[in-house]
Symmetry: C2
Subunit: 203 residues, 2 copies
């Protein structure tokens, strides 16, 4: 049975991951974000199991207790988390998944036998450039910039544990390279136990 | 020390490998074919160690005897061969090498601890299409077409041993995908023991 491919992406804050992923998702078809769990109410048009798994706070806290989340966080009083099981379910449907996760979460994924995938680390060109980008965001206080830079130094130490390392210097080039990695991973022959390879580029 | 990357390419005759490699080499910089040994005389402008390693028949036969070739063949009375050592020397200079070699040669490379690389198999869309392409070459006799088709069936059985499998249906798409694989391999972080990753796409 051919399952979906898992792309695990991490980057220090300010490396440009959000913009990069938006551009890549627009360009490459057949690629979805993982479906998170949340305790917030569904908004109009949001679908259970597609946009989110909507669960109660009691269930969420119980899932934390049982260690079912790869990562979770509280945002504006609501809980959000990515569960091991929900990623697995999407992969089993044959969907290629982008899992945007921090270095701790990625480390948990690497420790999982079931969640094999291509791990990609997005790095800023330099710490000086990262600092320039963070200061360019008017919303960041001096204290926040410092904390983010210190975290970046720690996170960069994990870069070598990833399969791919991309320096986001010029965004267009980074989008090209990220897309190239997805195409290459889709052409990996261990993905085709039946011996049925892909034809050209699957966009 | 960062060495060059090795790209091992095999394909059944008629799959379109020669045209494909020509297009890819024109497009991607920093990529060279491996330097072969030959017993033929150097032509004007040909340089020892760049175009070929020019050696005598005695030395060539001695190298065969010692098992130093990954593959060799006689063409118009001259001997040509690819030695393990010459590929290694190019890689040590930091040059990315394309090794265009048959499935037996690729198998020897996979058995070598020193020659690690990305193995790419180029397949025709189908045997029927391969037959059509081979018959399209006016130079091929019926007997030769049969032999090539029979060989293709045998060679295709090795496809799953390669890291990547590309079906050459539309040449432009195949060139794009092949190029994507080279870029992706260049972004593999195990290539950067010093922790120094690449910036965007290295063309």
């Amino acid at each position: 049975m051919i399952e979906g491919r898992l792309f695990v992406i991490s980057a220090p804050s300010g490396a440009g991951k959000t913009t990069l992923l938006k551009r890549v998702m627009e360009r490459v078809s057949g690629l979805s974000f993982s479906v998170s769990h949340t305790t917030r109410e569904p908004r109009d048009g949001e679908e259970e199991g597609v946009d989110y798994h909507f669960i109660s706070q009691t269930v969420f806290l119980d899932m934390i207790e049982k260690g079912l989340f790869l990562e979770y966080a509280e945002v504006h009083g609501n809980l959000y988390g990515t569960s091991h099981q929900s990623v697995l379910e999407q992969l089993k449907k044959g969907i290629d998944i982008v899992l945007d996760i921090d270095v701790q979460g990625a480390s948990i994924v690497r420790g999982s036998d079931a969640l094999t995938g291509a791990h990609i680390f997005i790095a800023p060109p330099s710490l000086a450039e990262l600092e320039r980008r963070l200061r360019g965001r008017d919303t960041e206080s001096e204290k926040h910039v410092r904390v983010r830079l210190e975290n970046a130094v720690i996170e960069m130490q994990d870069a070598c544990k990833y399969d791919y390392l991309i320096v986001n210097d010029q965004l267009d080039q980074t989008v090209d390279l990220f897309t190239a990695i997805i195409w290459a991973e889709r052409a990996r022959s261990h993905r085709f136990p039946s011996g049925k390879p892909i034809t050209g580029i699957v966009k």
